[in-house]
Amino acid sequence: MLILAGIIISTFTAPENLPTNPQSMMWLLPLTAAVAIAYKAMKLPTITAGNFLKEVVLLFVSIAAFMAVTAAVLFAVAWVITE
């Protein structure tokens, strides 16, 4: 048990190896999901499984879509300036 606890604690003492590439942007998706779940858990007047899931998915997709559109606009602006 003590060894297991030591192993678990040691995983938090060294950072993971995350490469700096476009795929690493995918780390924003779990964070977006966390924000959507926490926000809807706070704001829904009554929480039922179906309604909660629907609202969370809707907010998650809205946030992701807005970020994708923002990225596309910024990419287009950068392309216009640099070309």
Partner: protein, 146 residues
């Protein structure tokens, strides 16, 4: 004239004797929410809300620590991030105390991602603290746009 239907039905805590505007109770709810994420909702008998909030905030914070190590909680080198992180729980100060000596250096993308995850977890908990105090005060969930 027919009354307008409510957008969000009000949740009245008739059966709860503690639904009063006692400042100490509101402070207690806020403090409990800060110490343990979701505890404020638990005190208000909103158990499903409390469990969801606890699981989401704690798992987001732990994911940040796993990615960037405890070095992402840096009260000396990253003070602004630390302000967000400490909102998760006062226990974060203990992690800050351990990592403040610079024994757990972290740079680059793991540092960025870890700091963002842990700070966002703290800011989400700040939102929960405010929302649970509002719930204790008003007796209903603040709807979107309130």
């Amino acid at each position: 004239m027919r009354p307008m239907p409510r957008r969000h039905p009000e949740r009245i805590y008739n059966q709860m004797d503690f639904r009063n505007k006692n400042i100490f109770f509101l402070a207690f709810v806020g403090l409990a929410s800060w110490i343990v994420p979701g505890a404020g909702y638990f005190l208000l008998k909103e158990k499903s809300r409390a469990i969801i909030i606890f699981v989401v905030i704690v798992s987001t914070f732990i994911t940040g620590l796993y990615i960037g190590s405890i070095g992402v909680v840096d009260p000396v080198g990253a003070k602004i991030c630390y302000l967000g992180q400490i909102m998760t729980s006062p226990l974060v100060a203990g992690i800050g105390y351990i990592s403040a000596g610079g024994e757990y250096p972290v740079y680059g993308r793991p540092s960025e991602v870890g700091q963002i995850y842990t700070a966002v977890a703290g800011l989400l908990n700040l939102l929960c603290i405010i929302n649970s105090i509002y719930l204790a005060y008003a007796g209903r969930v603040a709807g979107e746009g309130d």
